[in-house]
Symmetry: C2
Subunit: 133 residues, 2 copies
């Protein structure tokens, strides 16, 4: 598959106690539970060298988002004036890709335990990258 | 379109003097040229409120990447031991989404000027989000 095809492949999914959108904190820095990233068996090589303690950015596909939304009240608070979604972290946006900065707690084969992940159970995982300081 | 469909919509593209992969710095912090993000006309509302001076993360689709690569020599240097792509910022990876932290320099309708963007001319833009401190 070349990069010309703009179709994402889910390389894994989130296993988390968070199951309802209302429970998820608005941002990771407000705290989220520890969770597992469960990668497809074919992704084992791509995880080679990942170590506990690493700070990484997890990219997820926010599959419950509304992709037709272009303006929102920030933080779902009607008293905040409407703004373009590109000035907010709203999940509702044309390409609902979530960015989550977390710490790797454990690596067990293709299962990766991470801290403070504000993503719902079952959310597709797209990528994981090291944080650049 | 719901979030169940994992097909990305290009909402714009990069206009940059960088046209050859060999010219692009490996990471934004090594410096990149200022560039334009040229959004589709339908995205105007989603940009509402974006201001010069804002620090944002631009998400791009690295359309020249090889999506079948799972391990690389970091920084294309054969003397670096092979590692899984998820421990590197290699463009070659299953879902080649680029993350670029930049500053907004100007907003002219649906054209947004940003600093230090290490993406090639013509690269599809997927999203723009505020940096969280």
């Amino acid at each position: 598959m070349s990069g010309d095809d703009l179709t994402l492949v889910p390389i894994g999914h989130v296993e988390s106690p968070l199951t309802e959108a209302g429970e998820a904190p608005k941002q990771g820095f407000e705290g989220g539970p520890d969770a597992w990233l469960v990668f497809e068996p074919g992704m084992r090589e791509a995880l080679d060298g990942l170590q506990p303690g690493a700070r990484v950015i997890v990219l997820t596909w926010l599959d419950r988002a509304d992709r037709g939304v272009l303006r929102v009240h920030p933080r779902d608070d009607a008293s905040n004036p409407m703004r373009g979604v590109f000035t907010t972290r709203s999940a509702d946006r044309p390409n609902p890709i979530g960015l989550h900065e977390v710490e790797v707690l454990a690596v067990e084969g293709t299962r990766v335990r991470v801290s403070d992940l504000e993503a719902l159970d079952g959310t597709p995982v797209l990528d994981i990258k090291p944080v650049l300081d």
